[in-house]
């Protein structure tokens, strides 16, 4: 059949395809190939995580314990809800229900934004407690700031009305260790409870608890070296920031996609026959959710069992 003069295309059928089925199949395979690509992209980071977690398990656990699992868990739930609303948006698009479709897309965007908001809270907390691994990117504090104590608190870069767990716990948790940080360097004021724990275990069981790399990595001439230990924790925070940062970037892209979709849905582009863009954006959104499903336990929960 000659097709170039085929003027009665189905809505959204592009010229290179014969029919809607071919087009949908192409778009869907294309999207999946894109996701495969994304998996490998994050895969590089997961490899890095694996390597260093294998080398410095205690430092990673200790670092992880100073992430706030409450916020992390909350965010997991938020993302799951947004995944649900996204799936429903696709569902209503398939049904050709414009209004519910629009509502679901809006909800997805709302939850996506909440997720990013929580990330801002968490990042701020890290900034305030000197846990950003990059020198100079932490809050700068002087002797005077610290002495000022409670009344100086508002000087910290704080989100109104929201107190992070570290701040709440502030007094008892880390008062003993707070050091001034005039250059905004990465700090570790929380001691080395897990290394002590590991050494104790070694004594009790007579079996090595620390890895070879840890024996080299935390000690200088057989004596525990807080500076070297801090560097390993810094490595954890580096990985944390890169992974969650790239994930957040994907969320932002997703929100852009949603905004475009919202507009399209609003003007009534999609119908029971043509809704591929909604479905494809959905695939992307769920993918981003899946990445977080792994990030949450790997970053926030590892080492949690040592607390008790």
């Amino acid at each position: 059949m000659s097709t170039h003069d085929h003027e009665h295309h189905a809505p959204g059928l592009q010229h290179q395809f014969e029919d809607m089925k071919q087009q949908e199949e192409s778009v869907s395979i294309g999207m999946w190939m894109f996701l495969v690509q994304e998996i490998m992209f994050f895969g590089g980071l997961f490899t890095a995580y694996l390597v260093f977690r294998f080398r410095y398990p205690l430092a990673f656990a200790e670092g992880s314990n100073h992430l706030d699992a409450f916020w992390g868990g909350l965010n997991t739930l938020v993302l799951i809800v947004s995944s649900l609303t996204m799936a429903l948006a696709v569902y209503y698009a398939q049904k050709g229900n414009r209004n519910l479709q629009v509502i679901m897309i809006v909800l997805t965007m709302v939850f996506g934004s909440v997720f990013l908001g929580v990330k801002v809270i968490e990042y701020t907390d890290k900034y305030n407690s000197g846990l950003v691994p990059v020198t100079g990117w932490n809050k700068r504090t002087t002797e005077a700031d610290l002495k000022g104590g409670a009344d100086k608190k508002e000087k910290a870069f704080a989100i109104p009305f929201i107190e992070t767990r570290a701040e709440a716990a502030g007094g008892e948790h880390d008062s003993h260790a707070k050091k001034p940080n005039p250059h905004g360097e990465f700090q570790w004021n929380y001691g080395s409870a897990l290394v002590d724990y590991g050494l104790k275990k070694e004594k009790e069981t007579g079996k090595p608890f620390l890895t070879e790399s840890e024996k080299i990595g935390y000690f200088s001439n057989g004596v525990f070296d807080p500076d070297k230990y801090r560097d390993k924790i810094r490595l954890f925070y580096f990985i944390y920031f890169v992974m969650t940062g790239l994930h957040a970037l994907h969320m932002i892209v997703g929100l852009g996609l949603m905004a475009w979709l919202l507009w399209k849905a609003w003007i009534g582009t999609f119908s029971a026959e043509y809704f591929a863009p909604v479905e494809m954006s959905g695939l992307y959104w769920h993918f981003v959710d899946i990445v977080w499903i792994f990030l949450f336990p790997l970053l926030y929960l590892l080492g949690r069992h040592f607390i008790h």
């Binding site: 290179q16 014969e18 192409s26 778009v27 294309g30 190939m33 690509q37 994050f42 590089g44 390993k232």
Partner: protein
């Protein structure tokens, strides 16, 4: 739209060809036609090739004498780095897929276009952005890390534009990913009726395998370069030994992509060679399934051997053994291909047209390149050979002797299809000879130099190596001339070449069953395929008798 252009439409067609369908700049820059995109790739990629070639000329001139007299070491380091980066990321990886693959894939499977034409155009733009950024960085001062960007030199010690070039490569990577993605989708969904998987030309199979590597590998190098860039900006990162990071992890991540990437740089060439050998012997390819599946096998097993670039890097010695073993395994599918190509010529009707000359050159040179790959894969030997000129010779044999020569074969082969005109056979043959001779003269001495121990990336070297280096430089000049000729006669062909006709070589492939140059929508009617691949008889709708009359006694030679 009726555009009356100076170049008339292809023979038989009353409609404009893709070249004449609109002549404004906009009609090119906003086109979704895979053929126009391919032509734009052709031009851009050639620019990068010649820039890389000029760097190569400087390398060879500097190495004429033992001292670093023409270029100071600082400049030399930048020159070979930029030579490697331009040649690999901006020339060789896109060369065959983005030009010939783009142009021919839809034609070969009987589709109107690639499945995702807008993505195709996007990939071209991404390539341009990445390329321009890289060129800009080169003009600002360039990079001196080697194309491998090993840490910690690249993260903490180099004072050159690592970030900008890294960003260029990062961006360019997505161009490659999108091309691969598009090919996979197209091959799955756009085949014409009757075009079953085992009727696909092997060129298509090769591109399928290549695309797999592009999708699965390229993102890893993207994230690696990104981590490197982050580390450079923030001065902290996972590759920094000072805080417990591991520079060797960079090598793992880098080679996870870059070894499979060498198959991005050879599989499309192998696809071209399968076409040329079969078509110019007018002989069904020997062992079709074996060639097809060996491409896939190379793509898959290619992911298991990256550690053979790290035998002396300080990785675990057991890992070295495992990687050496797998390297040997991955050589077998290549061997299968070589044997099948040779067997294809048996009892054929072999013509000596330029593409065939290149293809025969490819067989010989890839053989040497591949076999020396075995030397390097044999771990005890590599301890001596790694980072010497033996490696340099090996990879030029596979990349230049392999892919570049296959690329030249392909460009000659499909030139009549792309432009509707013939090139000069006479000059084509001269240039093929010059390239072959010049190439061997350039790179064969480097094997000997390498075994003697001359390290690579050296601006100055001990005097006893000079003799062989002089040979090498002399060869490079011949090679340079051989590679400059095609530019001249191809340009001449566009302006004043003889009309080619739709099917100058009377070949059965679908791409030869439409006008030359093809119309924008490729085929007048959706083709229905009823024949197997590589069947040359009249019964497959080829009008051989009249073609024979028209073509005269032999291929016309014109200067």
């Amino acid at each position: 739209m009726q555009t009356q252009d100076a170049i008339s439409a292809g023979y038989g067609g009353d409609k404009p060809s893709y070249l004449t369908n609109g002549s404004t700049l906009k009609s090119w820059l906003l086109t979704k036609d895979h053929k126009r995109i391919a032509i734009m790739y052709l031009i851009s990629v050639s620019v990068f090739f010649f820039m890389g070639g000029i760097y190569a000329a400087f390398i060879r001139l500097e190495l004429l004498t033992p001292a670093s007299d023409l270029l100071e070491t600082a400049t030399y380091n930048k020159v070979f780095t930029q030579h490697g980066i331009l040649m690999i990321f901006f020339f060789l990886i896109p060369a065959i897929p983005a030009i010939l693959g783009n142009f021919l894939l839809p034609l070969m499977i009987g589709a109107k276009d690639l499945a995702l034409p807008r993505i195709n155009l996007l990939s071209l733009y991404i390539y341009w952005v990445g390329g321009i950024l890289t060129l800009y960085a080169l003009m600002q001062g360039g990079v001196d890390t080697g194309w491998t960007f090993y840490t910690p030199y690249s993260t903490t010690f180099s004072n050159s534009f690592v970030m900008a070039v890294g960003l260029g490569i990062f961006i360019n990577g997505f161009s490659s990913i999108l091309t691969g993605l598009n090919f996979i989708v197209t091959i799955h969904t756009m085949r014409a009726p009757g075009m079953t998987w085992f009727r696909l030309p092997l060129f298509v199979w090769a591109h399928y395998a290549t695309s797999l590597v592009m999708i699965l590998g390229t993102p890893v190098v993207a994230i690696t370069v990104l981590l490197l860039a982050i580390e450079r900006v923030t001065r902290v990162g996972i590759f920094d030994p000072a805080i417990g990071g591991d520079p060797i992890l960079f090598q793992h991540l880098f080679w996870f992509y870059s070894h499979p990437a060498v198959y991005i740089m050879i599989l499309p060439g192998m696809g071209v060679i399968s076409e040329v050998i079969s078509n110019f012997s007018r002989k069904k390819i020997f062992g079709y399934e074996f060639i097809a599946f060996s491409s896939i096998a190379i793509a898959v097993f290619g992911f298991l051997v990256w550690g053979h670039h790290m035998f002396v890097s300080g990785q675990s010695i057991y890992a070295g053994l495992v990687f050496s073993f797998l390297t040997m395994v991955v050589a077998v599918p290549s061997a299968i291909k070589v044997f099948n190509w040779t067997a294809t010529m048996y009892k054929g009707s072999i013509s000596y047209d330029t593409p065939m000359l290149y293809a025969i050159g490819f067989l010989g040179l890839f053989l040497v390149g591949g076999l020396t790959g075995l030397f390097l894969g044999s771990v005890g030997l590599t301890v001596h050979l790694t980072d010497t000129y033996f490696v340099v010779a090996h990879f030029h044999y596979v990349m230049v002797g392999g892919q570049v020569i296959a690329y030249l074969a392909g460009i000659h082969y499909w030139w009549p299809k792309m432009t509707g005109r013939m090139y000069s056979e006479f000059w084509g043959k001269i240039s093929a000879m010059l390239v072959f001779v010049g190439f061997n003269l350039t790179f064969f001495p480097q094997f000997i130099l390498g075994y003697q121990g001359m390290p690579r990336r050296y601006a100055a070297y001990p005097e006893e190596f000079q003799v062989l280096n002089i040979f090498s430089t002399a060869g490079a000049s011949v090679l340079g001339v051989g590679l400059t000729l095609p530019v001249i006669y191809f340009t001449h062909s566009i302006i004043a070449g003889k009309r080619a006709g739709d099917n100058p070589w009377m070949l059965p492939g679908l791409e030869w069953r439409t006008a030359s140059p093809p119309p924008t929508e490729n085929f007048e009617e959706m083709p229905v395929v009823t024949w197997e691949a590589y069947e040359f008889g009249e019964e497959n709708g080829l009008d051989i008798e009249s073609a024979r009359k028209a073509s005269g006694p032999s291929v016309p030679v014109q200067a």
